[in-house]
Amino acid sequence: MLFFDPLFIFAFLPVVWLGFKAIGIRVPRSVSIAWLLLASWVFYAWAYPVHLFWLIGSIFANFLCSIAIQKNVDSPRAKQFLVGGIILNLLILGGFKYSGFATESLATIFGLSLQPPSFLLPLAISFFTFQQISYLVTTYRERRMIARPLEYALYVSFFPQLIAGPIVQPGEMIPQLQSKTFGKTNLNDIALGLCLFIIGLGKKILLADNLAPIADLAFGQIAQGDPISALTAWMGLLAFALQIYFDFSAYSEMALGLGLLFGIQLPENFASPYRALSIIDFWRRWHITLSSFFKNYLYIPLGGNRLGFLRRHSNILITMTIAGLWHGANLTFIIWGFAQGLLLSINHFWRFSRVQLPFEVSWLLTFVPVTLCWTFFRAENLNEALQYFSALAGTHGWASTDGLPFIEYLRSLDQTEAWNQVHYSIHYHGWYPKLITGIHIGELVFSKPFLSFIQVTTSLLVVLLFPRPFVWMRQPINGNARFTKKAAFLCSFIITAILIQSGTLQATQFIYFRF
């Protein structure tokens, strides 16, 4: 089930929420937790019920492990249980996620005829595995039982964050479940949750999913071996950069909003990363909880920045490469992670110079490399990524109409079929000013390249100019969230626009659901 699925919005969510509210009035807190847990498991099992076996099995095993750690807190066995638990988690994750990739790699390198194992990757395994590792570590560090079984199961399974994060630390959620007020949501939280959910829905459906076809077309052509012009390649890459931005931003806001509807404040996972003025800043804003996880559980244990210059930078490269691999078992993700590590290292070097660049230059030096790296993230394989870089460099020409006179260029533009009715309607009123004999402005305005350009530019402006909904809404006025007429108008506009488009929507799964 997806957050934008009508079944989720009009059936699952209302039933679960009303049930939660009704339970919260009279019965003990544990019943509210059980209700949410049941709903979360139904949500998780909806598409592939068999996956629930892995989720529950993993919860059970990890909880037993946490009990073992807590029971042996004064003996060295606690550490053994911790290490054993982490290894077991990573083995299961690795077995599911990377065995195919490893087999294929071995077969390629050593020329063996190995058959990669074939099984369906349990949904969200990367997320719930990491979340449980952080629980085991926290139990070990705090030397106490943090949560009761139901609380722990809900901490791992809570449906707003189960599929694609945020990766919640025990301290960020379990105390909320243990609070006496849990189950008694207030109107502020409900209004704020609703607002964030609607804004996220709008970002996903109205922005991300409308950018996807532009990116898919460009990357699809490369995948088929068709040459594309640099203009098309840049447009496709920018479209993907914005698509993944809005897609992830949408998910993060919807998750926050859903959490608030149930009185749980999840950590912010996305803080306008494309406004970052350095790569270091970018990684403080993009997938914040995953970055924190890798920092706390990999970079710092590796030695962090405490073991000298070389170790520090090699730790950054190792951490980011593994973070890349976490996204998927593919060489492209490994290279993407390594490239991010390299950029971070360069950024740390640059800091020594203490040179302050103008704002615009800093922004460009952050946004452009990040965008270029998305090529590895989006391409299906390394060859495709390299072909795409070649197209970006203009090896197949700068525009598909190189060498054509301007008038012929205008004539050659593909018209966007979806807009034909509007185009003709305006045309037959004679409302178009003529540009050149036989060519009028509508030929340009309703052409595919122009509309793609408008879409990409508008989306970029939204990124740069609109406030972060979470911050915007959370700025308190007299202790209350900052509800404004603007927010109300924005939300109702989004709902109306989605309803109008509902027949022609081509909604796609959240990109981060794949990981």
Binding site: A418, S492, T496, G503
Partner: protein
């Protein structure tokens, strides 16, 4: 602003936006945009034919394979019934097709439904049909149930609404070019009559239009470039009969029974080609599903799909449109089966039905 005020503002502003959308929708209804008002004119001409016939009549209804697939003059001469071909496009919703018959059919008439196979499985309104009907049959929308209205709106393009609103403002401001202006119904009928009498001197505005139908409503073939694509005629899939079609056909059959009108189902002409294999288990099962469905309504099929197979050379401009000669042969194949069915189900002499 407090949360409760926020929620009130959210509701009020949503109501306002919705009102604006409803206003724009109403404003756009009935507004044409080039060149699709030609379908409207085809409908006007067909309605004129339907209104003009007297005596027992056979009504043909289906998709464009029915529009292109019959020689109604031959059918009329061999059965003694008047014949009107009301069909024109496969995407038209089934309730629209049946409503068209309900407008004109009278007791003792016969309805032949060579529905396109896809029409049995369709549980949606096509975007094309939703856009078209908003232009020339807005009443269709208003007559739908609330559930169907919501479904229809889902498939109506919002860009079409904008286009229609532009057209409306064009009419108001007078900046509305001739190409976009639909003809008055009287002018359509006058032109069509002149065309049937060989007196029409004007331009033929488009390929499919009211000047490419004959006085029975059949398509009038010209020398259009042949295009003979391959097709599985929607028999090779595994889709179930749609609830939408089930509901609409059931209602229609009940109406015909209460009005003493006989209904026969028929198969569309299908070209032998590599995508179609009537012996394939999927095709056998699909045909069986269609037959079980019509059997459940006590409707008889005229012949079998194999009886109406044609060669690919018999196709005209799509895999569903027959040439004039193939349409004649298709009709000739149907006539003895139809006459037998008419004799089996009632009086075979149409004049005695009066």
């Amino acid at each position: 602003m407090s949360a409760s005020k926020f929620l009130k503002w959210l509701s009020c502003s949503f109501a306002t936006f919705s009102a604006i959308v409803v206003a724009l929708f109403c404003l756009h209804l009935g507004q044409p945009w080039w060149p699709h008002h030609h379908n409207r004119e085809v409908r006007i001409a067909k309605h004129h034919i339907a209104e003009s016939v007297e005596g027992p009549t056979i009504w043909l209804q289906g998709g464009s394979s029915t529009w292109f697939g019959f020689d109604s003059e031959l059918l009329s001469s061999r059965t003694g019934y008047q014949v009107v071909n009301l069909a024109f496009n496969v995407t038209m919703p089934s309730e629209f097709c049946f409503d068209e018959i309900k407008r004109f059919a009278k007791p003792n008439d016969i309805v032949i439904l060579p529905l396109e196979n896809s029409m049995y499985f369709r549980d949606y309104y096509s975007n094309y049909a939703a856009n078209e009907l908003a232009i020339w049959a807005p009443d269709f929308f208003w007559d739908l149930t609330w559930k169907r209205k919501a479904m229809y709106l889902k498939y109506l393009s919002w860009r079409k609404v904008i286009a229609g609103v532009f057209a409306r403002f064009g009419q108001i401001t007078g900046s509305f070019k001739n190409q976009l202006k639909p003809l008055e119904p009287g002018q359509v009928v006058a032109n069509a009559k002149a065309h049937w009498n060989g007196d029409y001197q004007g331009d033929v505005p488009a390929y499919y239009n009211y000047l490419t139908i004959n006085r029975y409503g059949d398509f009038e073939h010209s020398n259009h470039a042949l295009w003979r694509g391959l097709h599985d005629y929607n028999l090779m899939g595994t889709r179930p009969i749609s609830e939408m079609t089930r509901e609409d056909l059931t209602q229609f059959v009940n109406w015909t029974r209460s009005n003493n009108i006989r209904v026969f189902m028929s198969w569309i002409p299908m070209a032998r080609n590599e995508k179609l294999n009537l012996d394939h288990p999927n095709a056998v099962a699909t045909i069986s599903r269609i037959r079980s469905f019509t059997d459940s309504l006590n409707l008889n099929f005229l012949g079998n799909p194999e009886d109406f197979l044609v060669e690919i050379e018999d196709l005209y401009d799509t895999s569903h449109h027959l040439t004039a000669e193939a349409a004649r042969r298709h009709t000739e194949t149907l006539i003895p089966i139809l006459n037998k069915a008419i004799a089996n189900t009632g009086d075979s002499n149409p004049s005695s039905s009066n």
